[in-house]
């Protein structure tokens, strides 16, 4: 899961920058990696790839602002209620 998320970020927002240029805890917002519309691309990818429904109130940095945040968020979403 982590690799698929990283690959999406590198292919679509970092356009193939060095692997070492993004740590899993780095904030996308602070580093300007994802712009105002990029977040919608990310949400569409996560929904499609991991078969999850992301609600508007879940669109917050705590869930989506780093590779680790995303992995934790998907893991939580995939857990049975």
């Amino acid at each position: 899961m982590r690799d698929r998320v990283r690959k999406f970020i590198f292919d679509n927002f970092l356009f193939g920058a060095d692997e070492g240029s993004l740590k899993d805890d780095d904030s996308f917002l602070e580093q300007g990696i994802i712009d105002s519309t990029g977040i919608l691309e990310l949400v569409a990818f996560l929904g499609e790839q991991f078969n999850i429904q992301i609600n508007d109130d879940e669109l917050m940095p705590e869930n989506l602002d780093s590779v680790n945040c995303i992995v934790n968020f998907i893991t939580r979403k995939k857990q049975p209620a």
Binding site: F15, A17, D35, T37, L40, M60
Partner: protein
């Protein structure tokens, strides 16, 4: 409106001759297909490609004074030339023609560089004063008409377009990496820098003298938005603005050929057209761009306005393939990389105007800058309001009122919207407060630059730009600062050039802009902000002033910026046209050297998938493609060899 070119030999005259000038002029023949003229006295050479608009029989250039000691080559229009001519005749000058050109010569004789303050117009010209041995070059206040120059050591060259300077075959051709960085951050170059090393642009509102091999440049005008002006009441201001706009339009209808108007469907061009209709007896034909892609199309409003004013209306419908097929031709005319395709439909529109037998159109450019129309001013106002109480939960909610025409913006969560517009603790004290979010976003596309490009950059484009701002700028109100940056940066550097002069003159069409009459600009600069933007209602005073003359739908309509489809214009079913595929191929990207092929490949793949939706990716694609095309057209060959 014409094309000018010339040179001044600085020593033995080996660098340039009449043949040189003929090459220069023929490269800009599109600017003046009605005739050409040359003056050469062994030292100075002035050339002119003419588009006949005023005094069709007598306006041939270069033109001289009574004793042939002062010569001029002139591009543009002096709209108050009739009044200036009367004054000169009273002073005893003998004028042989009824052209505006001759007026400048005699004003220059009387006042030297001070002559510029009498001119109401859009101009770029060169005056050769034989007795003084001095070349005098000047450009209008707002940068409507272009003027470039370069020195070779043996000669000093000038021209309306850079291609004419290159046609002299003396200046080495190379792209300037810092210029590309400026375009990828600020959207345009900051004069005197151009996209090419060794070629400079005379900044708007500046003049230049060259004498004994020494060049000197001075600014003769600036707009003051510091907010220290005397205040008129709203009603008086509204009437004064309307009176000025009527007069500015009246002057701009002066021509010995028919004058048309552009209609975008928005407020500004509707105002211009209504002013022509209501305050002159001129018959009127109007011209518009419609888009096949409904997201960009405003033809309903264009037709409504044409019907309301009873104009004979013409429309050109623009498809994705029209943009792709004409993009390279447009880059040949812009002579600089662009980040959006919006100049292409305007290039097609000027072709439509030409086909209908017109040479002159009035348009609404400048209204957004002088009357607070752009979203960035509303955005700045909200961010300033928020910055006073950064912890407020309610103030940033106003951000949702911005960009109602952008579904991606409206669809994002409040956290991300706020994060994008929050530029940190410096708040409004940041000298570039208004433009920081969008320049920060644009500059992320530097990640496509090659290692060679990065190594050549001398610093940050934003920092360099900040140093050009006037003394005391940091103390101006934030929205006034934003207005100044738009007026001095994007207006001349993109709107009036890549989207203006260059794409209209490509088809020998002259644009005229009532909102950019300097009296209108100066008057509006003194208006209180609340007259221009009431709450978040942009161009409030203009709407109030023109309400009786416009359909209600036009006045009440939510502002829609002029945009054209970018990335999707180039890719159909995952494939681009052959020239685009070639320009963006690994081979060509590596050969030209400005970008890193790996990241460009990923961006192109994203375009093929139809996954490019945001401004940043679209700007990257259009920017990279235009740099590649510019290199092919003007340099042709590996970049390292050209340096």
């Amino acid at each position: 409106m014409c094309g000018i070119a010339g040179f001044l030999n600085l020593n033995d005259g080996k660098d340039a001759s009449i043949a040189t000038l003929k090459r220069m002029l023929s490269s800009i023949r599109h600017r003046g297909p009605d005739g050409a003229g040359v003056y050469y006295d062994g030292r100075a050479c002035l050339g002119h490609a003419r588009l006949s608009i005023i005094d069709l029989a007598g306006g041939t250039q270069p033109m001289c004074n009574e004793d042939k000691s002062v010569w001029i080559t002139f591009n543009g229009e002096i709209f108050n030339y009739i009044e200036l001519r009367e004054g000169l005749l009273k002073k005893g000058h003998v004028l042989k023609t009824h052209s505006d050109t001759e007026v400048i010569i005699h004003l220059y004789e009387d006042h030297g560089a001070e002559c510029l303050k009498y001119l109401n117009g859009q101009f770029a010209f060169a005056v050769w004063d034989k007795n003084k041995g001095e070349l005098f070059l000047a450009r209008d206040r707002l940068g409507i008409r272009p003027l470039f120059y370069a020195g070779s050591g043996g000669a000093f060259f000038f021209a309306s377009e850079i291609k004419a300077i290159f046609a002299a075959n003396v200046i080495e051709r190379a792209m300037d990496p810092d210029a590309l960085d400026e375009i990828f951050t600020l959207w345009c170059t900051v004069p005197p820098r151009t996209a090419f090393k060794g070629v400079s642009e005379l900044p708007p509102a500046h003049y230049m003298t060259v004498k004994n091999g020494v060049a000197s440049i001075k600014q003769y005008w600036d707009v003051d938005l510091s907010g220290c002006g005397e205040e008129l009441g709203f009603e008086d201001s509204m009437e004064a603005l309307k009176g000025l706009l009527i007069d500015a339009t009246r002057l701009r209808l002066r021509a010995d050929v028919p004058v048309g108007a552009y209609l975008s469907g928005g407020l500004d061009s509707s105002v211009t057209t209504a002013l022509i209709r209501n305050f002159s007896s001129a018959p009127l034909q109007t011209f518009s761009v419609a888009f096949e892609d409904g997201d960009y199309d405003e033809s309903v409003y264009q037709k409504e306005m044409a019907r309301a004013l009873g104009t004979e209306h013409h429309e050109i419908r623009c498809s994705y393939s029209d943009i792709s097929e004409n993009f390279a031709r447009v880059i040949w005319h812009t002579e600089k990389p662009i980040l959006r395709t919006a100049p292409v439909p305007l290039f097609l529109l000027s072709g439509l105007v030409r086909k209908n037998g017109f040479k002159v159109v009035l348009t609404g450019e400048g209204a957004d800058e002088v009357l607070g129309g752009y979203d960035i001013f509303r955005e700045t106002k909200i961010r300033q309001f928020w910055a006073r109480f950064p912890d407020s939960a309610h103030r940033p909610m106003l951000l949702k009122k911005l960009y109602p025409y952008l579904p991606a913006f409206q669809g994002q969560s409040k956290f991300y919207r706020e994060a994008f517009f929050n530029t940190g603790a410096a708040g409004t004290s940041d000298i570039l407060f208004s433009h920081r979010p969008r320049w920060r976003t644009a500059s992320r596309n530097r990640l496509f630059f090659s290692d060679w490009m990065r190594g050549m950059l001398k610093g940050s484009a934003e920092d360099a730009y900040a140093k050009t701002l006037p003394a005391g700028f940091e103390g101006w109100p934030p929205v006034a600062r934003a207005q100044y940056i738009e007026l001095k940066n994007l207006l001349p550097g993109y709107i009036l050039s890549s989207q203006g002069d260059r794409v209209s003159m490509a088809h020998s069409i002259e644009g005229r802009f009532p909102f950019l009459d300097h009296r209108v600009v100066e008057f509006c600069s003194r208006l209180p902000l609340r007259y221009k933007i009431r709450g978040l209602n942009e161009k409030f005073i203009l709407k109030k002033a023109m309400k009786p003359h416009l359909p209600e739908n036009i006045v009440k309509r939510t502002k829609q910026p002029y945009l054209a489809p970018d990335g999707k214009s180039f890719f159909k079913s995952g494939k681009a046209s052959d020239y685009v595929e070639d320009m963006l191929s690994d081979e060509r990207i590596t050969e030209y050297g400005y970008f890193n092929p790996g990241p460009v490949r990923l961006l192109v793949n994203k375009c093929r998938r139809g996954a490019v939706t945001g401004f940043r990716d679209n700007m990257a694609l259009v920017g990279i493609l235009s740099v590649q095309i510019l290199h092919r057209q003007f340099l042709k060959g590996p970049v390292a060899a050209a340096l």
